[in-house]
């Protein structure tokens, strides 16, 4: 079961990357916030239809859900604003790679302490090696991207495009 979820998450990443290119092209003409807004509103409309037909939960119980669970929406939007702050100062590549480090470290912290949900996965030696390998990989990607940016003057163009990696 969990290997299927692993592959599904890989596909999730693939879709997210496609989305950042799609939104990048759109926002070049329409603007960053506009592109984010369009993503959320069309996503909301499509999901409303899906939920209407296939929703097995109870949307009304949202009123009883603890407020901290509902606060998650601010985190998704927060991601957007934090990247908008960081990108002009340190560049897109550095922003994306730093965000990845934050994302994976936080993920492992949540797992280790079993925050929020019941599932608890301790941080062990294997995970530590995994993080080190990830850091080496990110360093390589950073170097390769910097080279690409110097070779071609595409960097600024690329910037505005990958800025839009944020939306889910």
């Amino acid at each position: 079961m969990s290997i299927i979820i692993l592959f599904a998450s890989l596909i999730g990443g693939i879709l997210l990357s496609a989305q950042s290119s799609v939104n990048g092209s759109f926002s070049n003409k329409a603007g960053t916030l506009e592109s984010a807004f369009l993503t959320f509103i069309t996503g909301g409309m499509m999901l409303s239809i899906v939920v209407l037909f296939f929703g097995s939960g109870n949307l009304l119980t949202i009123l009883d859900a603890p407020k901290w669970q509902l606060s998650a929406v601010w985190f998704g939007v927060g991601y957007l604003f934090l990247t908008i702050l960081a990108v002009p100062k340190i560049g897109v590549i550095a922003t994306n790679l730093s965000a990845i480090i934050g994302q994976i470290s936080m993920g492992m912290l949540i797992d280790h302490f079993g925050w929020f949900s019941g599932i608890q996965i301790s941080f062990d030696f294997k995970r530590m090696i995994a993080i080190v390998l990830m850091l080496i990989a990110l360093r390589l990607i950073y170097k390769a991207n910097m080279k690409a940016g110097n070779e071609r003057k595409h960097l600024s163009q690329q910037s505005s495009q990958s800025l839009h990696r944020f939306l889910k």
């Binding site: 990443g13 496609a18 990048g24 369009l38 960081a86």
Partner: protein
């Protein structure tokens, strides 16, 4: 001063994991699809207000844009729903790591082929090594 912005970028990643973790809990109680729907409806409201005050672009481009540029929402809902379903089973660390690997591989392919309006950039050896390392680390986490 600059290092402050690295912290900001790091925080951006942190909130992404928090979001996934919290929505997966919400999904257990109100339903997975419903949890994603909540995100998109309330995100729309927040961004709608932000757009009113700070929007500098032109939303009207939407009607002129080629249709493929409008698929961001569809891609986004599939992504979030996969996370909401997957996190309670494999944990946030592994889910986020596989998302990152999928993202890296796909962005390399997009750049290499010049798809979706990206400038064409040939994939470099360093990046292939990087992806190989990431896949190894996925197996270590798994």
């Amino acid at each position: 001063m600059k290092s402050l912005f690295y912290v900001v970028a790091l925080l951006a990643g942190v909130v992404l994991s928090l979001e996934g973790a919290i929505y997966s809990v919400l999904g257990e109680s109100i339903g997975k699809l419903e949890s994603s729907l909540y995100n998109f409806v309330f995100g729309t409201m927040i961004l709608g207000v932000a757009l009113l005050f700070w929007g500098k672009g032109s939303l009207s481009y939407t009607v002129k844009a080629p249709k493929w540029q409008l698929t961001g929402g569809l891609l986004g809902i599939i992504y979030l729903t996969i996370l909401v379903i997957g996190i309670p089973i494999i944990g946030v660390g592994l889910a986020m790591s596989s998302v990152v690997v999928g993202q890296m591989v796909m962005s390399m392919i997009i750049e290499h082929r010049g798809w979706l309006g990206s400038p064409k950039i040939k994939v470099k050896t360093e990046k292939i090594i990087a992806v190989a390392l990431m896949i190894v680390s996925l197996f270590l986490i798994y």
